[in-house]
Assembly symmetry: C2
Homo-oligomer: 333 residues x 2
């Protein structure tokens, strides 16, 4: 079924308010779920919403909590998320990092005790659409084996970098697993193989078969040992800087995912570099990349953020495709 952005926002706001959230906060959080759905990331939009409500019922998310400042070193601040709504905490902290960048050129916020931010890219878009650079990452519960390991002890820790650009921001949003659990499940339900190996089978061989990967959950990091190392260092940096939980600590708390550590860095790039220089440089580079010789007639050579923007425009025009079963779950709440 196709819904408008406003229909989605209104309905999610209703459920959040009914669950006990203040009207303003509910509308802002609902808007973030709707944004992700609009951009084609329903997995962290409406599809994820029922699980968030269940976390709320389990007591992991404190709907009334607001982030509080723990320490300031000038351009660097440490905040406690007080287990409030993850997307609101993240949006608040990227905004605070932008304020610090406005003052110091660069600013950073380390955030502890927060909840799942849903789609990390949202905060890269937030900064880029405001004319700032946004860099952020989160740790997660243990969901991926370290390189050389069978069992899952590191996180897929999404890493986001966003840059403002008039024709469309450049926004990378890359989790450090080759495929998300969602993508692997999606391939299984669709009876498809993954396009490239996504994990190991029980015989210890790389496989594109989602059913085989789901037997071991031995998913692979991007670049094998490289993504494993990237996951470890980003986790440790976020947890140490925020004086929060590491992926290991999160795994000790429960089998669910809460009390995460995140980092938000922003740069006031408009003050650092003239927009004319930046636009020409980015446009020339992107034009060159897009002029590559494609590997096939179907190959799309894209810059990061291009697909989300295209999807956003299509969905704005034609309505947002939402699974009926998901929508009826939400409307019944």
């Amino acid at each position: 079924m196709r819904l408008t952005y406003d229909q989605i926002t209104r309905e999610l706001t209703r459920v959040l308010v009914k669950s006990g959230m203040a009207q303003d906060a509910a509308a802002e959080s609902a808007g973030l779920f709707a944004d992700n759905t609009l951009d084609g990331i329903a997995s962290h939009g409406v599809n994820r919403f029922p699980r968030v409500i269940s976390y709320l019922e389990k007591g992991y998310i404190d709907l009334a909590a607001k982030p509080s400042k723990v320490a300031s070193l000038g351009a660097l601040e440490k905040w406690d998320g007080n287990l409030g709504m993850g997307n609101l905490n993240a949006r608040f902290c990227m905004n605070r990092a932008m304020e610090l960048a406005g003052e110091y050129g660069i600013g950073a916020v380390a955030l502890r005790n927060t909840n799942h931010w849903m789609r990390g890219g949202a905060y890269g878009w937030q900064a880029a659409e405001a004319g700032y650079v946004g860099i952020c990452w989160t740790n997660t519960q243990p969901n991926m084996p370290a390189w050389g390991a069978m069992d899952r002890r590191i996180g897929n820790n999404p890493f986001i970098v966003g840059l403002p650009r008039r024709e469309g921001p450049v926004v990378l949003d890359a989790a450090l697993a080759q495929y998300s659990y969602g993508k692997i499940e999606e391939a299984l339900y669709a009876g498809r193989q993954l396009p490239y190996p996504g994990g190991y089978n029980e015989a210890g061989e790389l496989t594109t078969d989602p059913a085989e990967i789901m037997k071991t959950w031995r998913v692979i990091p991007i670049g094998f040992w490289k993504g494993s190392g990237m996951s470890i260092v980003l986790d440790l940096l976020a947890a140490v800087l925020a004086e929060g939980n590491s992926t290991y600590d999160i795994g000790q708390l429960s089998d669910d995912e809460y009390a995460l550590s995140q980092v938000f860095i922003s740069i006031d790039i408009r003050r650092a570099t003239s927009e004319a220089y930046a636009e020409k440089l980015m446009n020339d580079a992107i034009a060159d990349i897009k002029a590559s010789v494609p590997v096939s007639d179907e190959a799309a050579i894209m810059y990061p953020g291009e697909r989300a923007l295209r999807t956003r425009r299509q969905n704005s025009e034609h309505g947002i495709d939402v699974e009926e079963s998901v929508w009826s779950t939400i409307t019944a709440m």
Copy 2:
């Protein structure tokens, strides 16, 4: 042959001074080449030294140049490398980022018109050994196809994150290609296959055969489309922030690699978080990761930086293994 750290430093210093570099700068630069060799990264240590001398003879590197400040926004500064020696410029800028971090909590330097920094990890180690977080990356000449492309138009843009830790810093040093050109050539000369696919053959299939990859040079980014996106956004951010060259611009200059853009970010983590908290958190997390169930008896489950430190200790004790042909080239200079 096995050489001491001092032997390597003395000999490289001699060649740099003979080439026209001031004694102090030569000794510092030679020390960085020796450090990389000591840590087991000879590809960006002594093995690369003759090419650096050839770049100097071609006029790409100005041995007398020092970096100059272009602009300051407080915690963020823009510097011009004036085409000076790449490793000295990088070391200087990480040091400057650390000074800014000391003042503001976080500090950043964008550097343009610099030369190859050799081993990016060196600057992560530099920050970590001084008790700071160091994050840095560089762009490169076009050396990798974007995802979906046949021809090389993006860079492998190494990304480095270093954290201080008493038992041994955690330092990630990850180029965004699955394998470096050096590793592919090494496998070819050794008559070995790569352990995992590193690129495409002429039929457009992923292959572990170095000879097949060298026919196309269609090397793969880490995580396929993910590393491609990461390369693009890190390149654009470095070039825009430094008002320097993008990978595209670098490719327009020549077939060689110079006039690069780099970013150095540092965080004064010792002021942000107590060392006791940081040490316990990192040690617990690393102990947990290393306690993973290994995939085989030979599997080594490592944290980033662990191997370099081990190699450094072994080489410090037993001498540094240097290829005789490389050494005789250098001593003949």
